[in-house]
Amino acid sequence: MLAIDHGPDGTVVVAGRLDAAQAPVAQAFLDRVQGAVTLECSRLEYISSAGLGVLLKTQKRLLASGGKLRLSGVSRHLQDIFGYSGFDQLFEIEPAE
């Protein structure tokens, strides 16, 4: 399951599995965010290529209007995924502490 919502500190908090089944839910939510957005990923357990597609589409839209999507709390495992897919070159990534 996937949970995605606004966090108390202005971030967007995503938790659970961002896979092909959950991608439309995440996309619908992220289609509404604007400006500079931080996606808090410390409780994101899994991301598939469909999930990467959601982040990519959001990043393109935000960049076009001067905003951007930043990822925080990125676990070691997710860093590997972003690294192995070259997505670390498309997003500012702040590793988990």
Binding site: S49, A50, L52, G53, L56, K57, S85, F87, L90
Partner: protein, 572 residues
């Protein structure tokens, strides 16, 4: 009025008419022909002027006029008009005078100029008791529809309903089959874009394959020769099925054209990326390794858009280097500047292993992934196999690992191996004077090819013994002796070829007993004895046609000489 309430039996004449209709209804396979048959049958059996069939649309619970003589398509709600009332009550409605019935809608008559006098409206109910439509027959030729007609019509309606249902089911099946055939053709087109046979590149062993999870796959690969060198591609579009199959096929075609038109690696990568970024949907991308191997320098330069890990098996020290992608996936964003690609030096025995994530991420029933570690272990263990064999072994290993867990993603592989090519060869005059030249030659080759210098002494010793033998026993031959040094895993293989000589199999020379007391020892044979101890193996081959003797020996750091000798007798 309910048809079931009627007790009247069908007459023999009626029965015959119904049976004729039934056999007519068995033939058509498409809906429009079937509806035509139904209406024609009703008109004939009931002696009516006109007929029409309304089919029920289950999605909207509307009745749709699909066929009628001289009328346009109409939709009515269940419950509305005579047709709607019949559908709702699921019973026959016999109206002898339409203009006297408030449910009758005269607008159709007005539009067509036809005057409806009497009308029989009956439900078409299939064998599962589902209403499939409503049939209307208009204007009995000599009078009005009577109770006999109602019974006959009910029997006819039952036949029609079943026939209609059959046609609809057949249509669904045909539609499914058409879709399957279309997919099959798409697969053939996609597969035809992949190299059917591997290009032949001297000194290299090339192998690629793609095994889609569905009929069409989101993966592609390419191995093709251009002026720029050997193009090596492995691509994987997000998802699998028709849509990503179209994307990867498009990318592969663009790359081929780019290189055919003389593009260099950097501009091809950048331009294809930018073109894809323009045309792919916003959440789609293609991870792809795109490399060019220069067969003259053995340098392979690549860009990898999100495709990784990239494995480089290095024969010199038996290790695997893992490379990450150099860039984000193709089509994700336009590239304004491009980082310089990565260059690999392909040394003899080196293997480049490109696998799509269908391999790395293949999960067993417990959810564990196949992973890069297993790939590395198999490659390291089976590095001496041909690449086609190695590919099979990788596939088998995934199969064994999965233990029946289904293939979820496309599996695509490209393997490029630089063979253990001949490091050097030279001809030497049949003379003891050649010995210093031979020693200089081996030293030069060992240094240039970075072969373990710890092996040089044994090689020189063996060469000197064998060459000396050739000079001694075939002194009359004017031909030169050829020496060929080939690099093998962990060492060298050396071949001496002696032309125009009698056979002399060095491997068959009698064993000498080095433990004999000094008085029983004979001179000679000691050199060959020592060679057998020093080398991994030695083989002799004599080719009668050109009176050619070939001695091939192997020396690697892996095997210390076995105490019982490891002589391999010549096989021919």
């Amino acid at each position: 009025m309910n048809a079931r309430a009627r007790q009247r039996q069908l007459s023999a004449r009626d029965m015959r008419a119904i049976l004729e209709v039934t056999s007519a209804l068995a033939a058509p396979f498409d809906l429009m022909t079937m509806l035509g048959e139904v209406v024609a049958a009703a008109k004939q059996v009931l002696g009516a002027e006109r007929g029409s069939v309304w089919l029920r649309d289950p999605a909207t619970d509307e009745l749709v006029l699909e066929v009628a003589t001289g009328m346009r398509q109409v939709r009515v709600q269940s419950g509305v008009g005579l047709v709607g009332a019949c559908a709702l009550a699921r019973g026959i409605i016999n109206v002898p005078d339409c203009y006297a019935d408030p449910r009758f809608d005269p607008s159709v008559d007005k539009a067509s100029g036809y005057r409806t006098r009497c009308m029989l409206t009956l439900p078409l109910i299939d064998h599962k008791d589902v209403l499939v439509g409503v049939m209307q027959v208009l204007n009995k030729i000599d009078g009005v529809f009577d109770a006999d007609d109602e019974v006959l019509a009910a029997a006819l309606a039952a036949q029609c309903a079943v026939a209609l249902q059959r046609v609809r089911m057949t249509e669904v099946l045909i539609e499914g089959e058409k879709m399957h055939q279309a997919l099959q053709m798409a697969r053939e087109v996609q597969m035809s874009t992949l190299p059917a046979t591997m290009p032949r590149l001297p000194g290299y062993d090339l192998c690629g394959t793609s095994k889609p999870a569905e009929l069409t796959g989101g993966d592609t690969f390419d191995l093709a020769q251009f002026e720029q060198g050997l193009l090596v591609v492995l691509g994987d579009a997000t998802g699998h099925g028709i849509a990503p199959a179209l994307s990867v096929t498009q990318m592969q075609a663009m790359l081929r054209i780019a290189f055919r038109l003389g593009a260099d690696l950097d501009s091809a990568f950048k331009q294809v990326n930018n073109q894809l970024a323009e045309t792919l949907p916003a959440d789609r991308f293609i991870t792809a390794f795109i490399g060019i191997l220069d067969p003259a320098t053995h340098r392979l330069r690549f860009h990898s858009g999100g495709q990784g890990p990239i494995l480089h098996y290095q024969a010199a020290d038996g290790t695997c280097a893992f490379y990450k992608p150099t860039s984000f996936p193709l089509g994700a964003m336009p590239l304004s500047a491009l980082k310089s690609g990565v260059t690999l030096q392909m040394l003899p025995g080196d293997i480049l292993i490109l696998l799509s994530d269908g391999f790395y991420e293949y999960r067993d029933a417990a959810g564990e992934q196949f992973g890069a570690r297993r790939v590395q272990d198999i490659v390291t263990a089976c590095r001496d196999r041909t690449m086609a064999e190695l590919l099979n072994l990788l596939m088998q290993a995934v199969d064994t690992f999965a233990q029946g867990a289904p293939q979820e993603d496309d599996m695509t592989a490209v393997l490029v191996k630089r063979g253990m090519a001949v490091a050097a060869q030279r001809a030497f005059k049949r003379s003891f004077d050649s010995l210093p030249g031979i020693v200089a030659f081996t030293a030069e080759v060992f240094a240039r090819e970075r072969i373990d210098l710890g092996l040089l002494q044994s090689v020189d010793f063996a060469l000197e013994e064998l060459f000396t033998n050739m000079v001694k026993y075939s002194a009359t031959s004017p031909a030169e002796v050829h020496i060929e040094i080939t690099q093998v895993d962990g060492g060298v293989e050396v071949t001496l070829t002696d032309y125009d000589v009698d056979p002399f199999d060095v491997t068959k020379a009698p064993e000498i007993d080095v433990d004999l007391p000094i008085e029983q020892r004979r001179p000679g044979g000691l050199g060959l004895h020592l060679i057998r101890r020093l080398l991994d193996s030695i083989e002799y081959e004599y080719i009668k046609q050109n009176r050619q003797s070939r001695i091939t020996f192997r020396k690697t750091r892996a095997q210390p000489p076995a105490p019982d000798g490891t002589v391999n007798p010549g096989e021919k």
